[in-house]
């Protein structure tokens, strides 16, 4: 890979050929504010935040869409740039109600952060026009058109990452908004994950937790063998939301419908909560002591009458390594048989 020498904010930097100015700056630890940019997507260049000045250029350019060239002299902070970024923010906020107090996203919203950083005040904004309501491509996600800043991250991700193309842009009464092709949508929630504002929200959990109130627990998905890394949002001992977790090696924060929306079983009222022992064909609830005694007694009995190999054990592809290890140890060391297997074959 060839490297290219350039200067950013007075620092000599070696960038990879083919990188954009934004990527070069980021690799060097220089921050350029962005809203629509996402590492995994081709540059969208819709938000107008990442402007930089380049020596010899007549006007500032968007750094996400400008490839590095040898000898470039880049400036990322100046009064002109700050004004341009403020203007861009004001344009984004034109129809965006500052309803942060009731928005799910408050606290982890890119727009909120940028508005705070650049000190934009509500009185500089136009009052929002009549609120709009729009359905979404999937019933599991809610669309808030007034909050949408049309950064197009969702549209781009649906197309580039998922290869689905269930989203587009349309215009009604002079105002642009997302358009949906529900028959294509696979409810993966990639769009939801990448929305930098609160325009797309999870529409499944009856209880909702504000970003700063929930406890976030990093873990691994329980469904297929991809092993996606995810974060469970927990409020009052209940999982209220699942987000993809950035792990460059596994899923890069993507999930599928099962991982993202298949969490309701955890708090299902059909979960088993007490040991059951069958008497005369009916299950009866018993305490643990009693259940364990029955199991041990019956295993001992079968072992005595028919030998250890008359007992078999199915361990599980859905249990942890630790559970599986202990299960085979139990079958081999305690029961005394190698009759242990699981449904790898099914």
């Amino acid at each position: 890979m060839n490297t290219i020498q350039l200067t950013i904010d007075g620092r000599e930097i070696a960038a990879k050929e083919g990188d954009t100015v934004l990527q070069a700056a980021r690799s060097a630890g220089i921050r350029i504010p962005t809203l629509c940019y996402h590492e995994r997507l081709n540059p969208i260049a819709s938000c107008g935040m990442c402007y930089v000045e380049i020596g010899g250029y007549s006007e500032p350019v968007q750094s996400c869409a400008t490839p590095v060239a040898p000898g470039m002299d880049v400036v990322t902070q100046s009064e002109v740039l700050t004004d341009m970024r403020k203007e861009s923010l004001q344009r984004l906020l034109l129809h965006h109600p500052l309803d942060c107090p009731i928005c799910d996203k408050a606290g982890e919203c890119r727009l909120q952060d940028l508005v705070f950083e650049y000190g934009i005040h509500a009185d500089e904004l136009q009052p929002p026009a009549k609120p709009r309501e729009v359905v979404y491509a999937t019933s599991l996600i809610k669309y808030w058109p007034d909050r949408c800043v049309l950064c197009l991250r969702c549209v781009t991700a649906c197309k580039e990452v998922k290869g689905v193309c269930a989203l587009g842009v349309a215009e009604t009464e002079g105002r642009r908004h997302l358009e949906f092709y529900p028959e294509r949508c696979v409810s993966c929630g990639e769009c939801l994950q990448l929305c930098p504002v609160g325009a797309l929200t999870e529409n499944l959990s009856p209880t909702k937790g504000r970003a700063f109130l929930v406890n976030k627990v990093p873990t691994t998905c329980t469904y297929c063998g991809c092993g996606c890394q995810m974060e469970l949002s927990v409020l009052d001992n209940r999982v209220v939301d699942v987000k993809g977790k950035d792990d460059a090696g596994v899923n890069q924060a993507s999930l599928c419908v099962k991982g993202r929306f298949g969490y309701e079983f955890i708090s299902s009222d059909q979960r088993l909560t007490k040991p059951l022992v069958k008497k005369d064909g009916e299950f009866q609830e018993v305490d643990w002591d009693q259940a364990i005694r029955v199991v041990a007694r019956r295993f001992n009995q079968v072992k005595k009458e028919h030998g250890a190999d008359a007992i078999g054990g199915f361990s599980s592809a859905r249990c942890t390594n630790e559970d599986n290890y202990l299960f085979q140890k139990f079958m081999r060391a305690v029961i005394g048989t190698n009759n242990v297997d699981h449904c790898a074959r099914l």
Binding site: L272, W288, A291, A310, F330
Partner: protein, 527 residues
């Protein structure tokens, strides 16, 4: 998998067969999509169904169900006869090439076309594509293994990959996609009748002694045990009692009428699960356990990466972690088994398992680690067989095509094949408990080809009866061109439409996997 999930981004050609990746391993399908659309990789799909990936593929071969060895031999025939194989790789790293060459000699495109239905020119084009674009990766799943010829199918794919020098290189490899979150881990942990952890065999005396000493017992059994399918079949006979943890054979096994009879013939059955599954209903004792969100532990994903699972919420009622239940039964039977937490168990696994030797909880805080990883300093092994095969030289196995156990005939003219859909998972125990996934895919649908539907006078959404020698099923038809003429596809997640009442329990002689992917049925419009 021999290679990491994301490694397809380094491939020039990707051969996908017997996996509906978009439905069953969506994240891998995303990477395939990215490889094709952003990096210009060529996608070669070989599947009897018109799966979603066909939309972006370069070449699609549609073999008849169950003819895998034939088309794989056909590809190798073309590659060898056009001298496209990676000869220096073959000379340096493999044995058995001459035998393979002799075996595939008769699999000419014309001969293969008769068996598989793949047009000659398509087979030749596919062979050239796979052989000339390197590196090439092969991805497969149950569409390859759930056949009486499953083991042979896998060996043939390995030969194809070695023939083009693709094993042990970035962007290459032969990659089985494991369907369940921790299938890989359950195997690694010795949840198999012939091995302890890390595939250390039970028939090796030194290994047995090591484990006996660590586990504080005088001896350990030296005879290879029975597989799931064998144990179920022996229910009431050689097997008198079963301890089932988190499995639901009443939906997942082939020919479940038979399974039910055998389970009922047991003296004693205990099922440990999070729901009262179809299998648990038949048990004498049911023990409530915790789900992934209620415990600490690790899963090993399909790329062999060990990943942390963390407790997020408290378990409902009195439900306990599986490992605590197992320990309690052990203690009651007079064996001292006590662990303060899951990390203590992992420490014991580290000590007894060379390939997991360096994979500690402390390290996993920094992210997943890929085994083999024998020491704390070892970085892990994302790609297997670099420079050299684990077993020395790579062996080519000459394998002849053999037809499936039950083929369509006049009475049962259709092929039935089974699998999963995107919205659900395995026996539906988890995925069907909430509203979200059920909203998207509420009931079982039988995919039937448009022309067959016309001949049967069945419209999309009407009911059909599907009948095999073992049972029958009334189910709603989804008419499309996804399946070929003469083939029906039914997912197995649904207890009320349990397709495994129909399937054939004939086994692959080595792997003991039942032939879930093909049996003969008749289909009629339901009254």
């Amino acid at each position: 998998m021999t290679n990491p999930l994301k490694d397809v981004l380094n491939s020039k050609v990707i051969l996908v067969t017997g996996t509906n990746t978009t439905s069953n391993h969506p994240i891998i399908a995303n990477y395939i999509h990215e490889a094709v659309t952003k990096h210009g990789a060529k996608l070669l799909v070989v599947d009897p169904r018109r799966i979603k990936l066909v939309d972006i593929c370069h070449t699609w071969l549609r073999p008849r169900v169950g003819t895998n060895v034939a088309w794989i031999n056909g590809l190798m025939h073309v590659i060898i006869s056009e001298n496209l194989q990676a000869q220096s790789y073959i000379d340096e790293r493999t044995t058995g090439f001459e035998e393979l060459k002799k075996c595939v000699a008769k699999y000419s495109p014309d001969y293969v076309a008769k068996i598989t239905g793949i047009p000659e020119k398509d087979l030749i084009a596919a062979a050239r594509l796979y052989a000339t674009e390197t590196p090439g990766s092969i991805l497969y799943a149950m569409g390859i293994t759930q056949h009486t010829s499953g083991t042979n199918n896998v060996k043939s794919l390995a030969s194809l990959s070695m023939l083009c020098g693709n094993v042990g290189v970035a962007g290459g490899g032969v990659n089985p996609l494991r369907g369940q979150n921790n299938v890989q881990g359950a195997c690694d942990m010795g949840g198999l009748p012939n091995v302890f952890t890390g595939y250390q065999t039970v028939t090796d005396e030194a290994v047995r002694e090591k484990f006996a000493k660590a586990w504080n017992v005088a001896t350990l059994p030296d005879r290879v045990g029975m597989t799931v399918t064998e144990m179920t079949a022996a229910g009431g006979e050689a097997i008198k009692a079963l301890y089932i943890m988190g499995e639901n054979p009443m939906l997942s096994d082939a020919d479940i009428h038979h399974v039910e009879k055998n389970l009922q013939a047991l003296d004693f059955m205990v099922v440990q699960d999070i729901f009262l599954t179809e299998t648990a209903r038949l048990a004498d004792v049911v023990l409530p356990s915790t789900c992934f969100a209620e415990k600490e532990g690790t899963f090993t994903n399909t790329e062999r990466k060990v990943l942390r699972v963390r407790k997020a919420v408290n378990a409902p009622g009195e439900a306990l972690e599986d490992y605590r239940i197992i320990s309690a039964i052990a203690r009651q039977m007079g064996y001292a088994m006590e662990y303060a937490d899951a990390s203590e168990i992992m420490a014991e696994i580290n000590r007894l398992t060379p390939s997991y030797g360096g994979i500690t909880y402390e390290r996993l805080e920094q992210g997943g680690v890929v085994w083999p990883c024998p020491t704390l300093e070892h970085p892990g092994t994302p790609i297997l067989h670099i420079n050299k095969f684990a077993r020395g030289e790579g062996v080519f196995f000459p394998i002849e095509y053999q037809p499936s156990a039950e083929l369509p005939d006049d009475e049962y003219p259709f092929v039935l094949t089974t699998g999963r859909v995107y919205e659900h998972y395995h026996t539906g125990t988890m995925s069907r408990k909430g509203s979200a996934l059920n909203r998207l895919y509420p009931e079982a649908l039988a995919e039937i080809n448009v022309e067959d539907a016309r001949n049967l006078d069945v419209a999309d959404g009407e009911y059909v009866n599907i009948v095999s020698r073992r049972g029958s099923l009334k189910i709603k038809a989804a008419v499309s061109d996804i399946t070929d003429r003469g083939v029906a596809f039914v997912p197995f997640h649904f207890y009320e439409s349990a397709v495994n009442k129909l399937t054939n329990s004939a086994l692959d002689p080595v792997s003991k996997i039942p032939e879930l992917k093909i049996c003969a049925v008749k289909i009629e419009k339901a009254a």
